[in-house]
């Protein structure tokens, strides 16, 4: 499974309004719930925050990939959010994060989940793509960048 297989326009939010780590996570989950991909908002948030307490999923170069495995979702889902300004996400490089890829998976899709996370890591290794994503003004522009 690749990023392209699960990326949907309704699951992209540009810009995110949250200014804290928790606010961003809540906003990403709300996108998922509003798109009717899941209903149990609190259970989803609990799973994501439980994973964050083990170690931040804020990586380097402005990327964060919060993720969790949970019974509260029936199929692997991705929400992509982009903030206008960097957010303190306890990233590995100590810098702020702007590109948030929330990945949630049910308990029995381990292979596809691992491949999706690796696909996101590979895609975001491109500095030019990161710059273009951060400059994107809306979800349509983001979709065009991935489906060019």
């Amino acid at each position: 499974m690749r990023l392209h297989d699960v990326l949907e326009r309704d699951l992209i939010k540009v810009p995110l309004n949250g200014e804290t780590k928790i606010a961003v996570l809540e906003e990403l989950v709300d996108v998922l719930v509003q798109a009717k991909k899941a209903s149990n908002r609190e259970e989803l948030l609990s799973a994501i925050i439980a994973r964050e307490t083990l170690g931040s999923t804020g990586l380097v170069d402005g990327i964060a990939i919060p993720h969790a495995k949970t019974k509260a979702i029936s199929s692997i889902s991705l929400v992509l959010g982009i903030t206008k300004k960097p957010i303190d996400f306890d990233a590995q490089d100590g810098k702020g994060s702007q590109l948030f890829f929330l990945v949630l998976a049910p308990e029995k899709e381990a292979s596809a989940y691992v491949e999706l996370l690796a696909s996101i890591a590979r895609a975001t290794s491109s500095a030019s793509l990161r710059r273009l994503l951060i400059a994107a003004k809306n979800a349509d522009e983001v979709m065009n960048l991935f489906f060019d």
Binding site: Q92, A110, V114, L117, A121
Partner: protein, 173 residues
């Protein structure tokens, strides 16, 4: 007349597409009197990349590796039962590493003459980093590749094949 394919390999990845590809492979192997191998590769390359990028903690890597191993056993057992049901000689192979590299290696070392794949996705992007493992296998396999697409047709074909009991007796006769 010699049949064109005697050693077939189908790649399983836990997706429904790959199971349907296995059903097509069983039907073809039955017709050609070929041997079928099903292969599941634990993608330790991807797991390693996730740990290296610190997307996964080491405890997560261990947990997901266990989950994927269990998936591999479950899917290989499922396809083994389907092959036995239709009387096709079958070998299950579980290995680990880089998926397309392991498949290519197995094809070469075992003189596989047909690789069967499901789930080749549409090309959405020109970016090299967006290429899927199935795409890589299709492009790099050192043998002919059969890509299975029409799930309904394959289901119907598989169901229409006679089932056999141990010893090769047709249940339907």
């Amino acid at each position: 007349m010699n049949e064109p394919f005697k050693q077939m390999l189908v790649y399983l990845d836990g997706s429904e597409d790959s199971v349907v590809a296995a059903m097509a492979a069983i039907a073809l192997a039955l017709r050609l009197e070929a041997h079928l191998t099903a292969m599941y590769v634990i993608n330790t390359k991807a797991l390693g990349e996730l740990v290296k990028a610190r997307i996964f903690l080491e405890m997560e890597e261990r947990e997901y590796r266990r989950d994927i191993e269990a998936d591999a056993d479950r899917y290989l057992n499922h396809v083994e039962k389907m092959a036995a049901q239709k009387g096709v000689p079958f070998t299950a192979v579980k290995t680990s590493g880089s998926v397309h590299t392991e498949v290519k290696r197995y094809v070469k070392e075992n003189e596989i003459d047909l690789l069967v794949l499901g789930g080749i996705s549409h090309i959405h992007s020109r970016r090299d980093e967006m290429v899927s493992e199935s795409d890589r296998m299709m492009r790099t396999a050192p043998c002919p590749v059969l890509v299975v697409r029409d799930q309904d047709q394959i289901w119907d074909l598989f169901e229409s094949l006679p089932n056999v009991l141990a010893g090769g007796i047709d249940e339907t006769t």
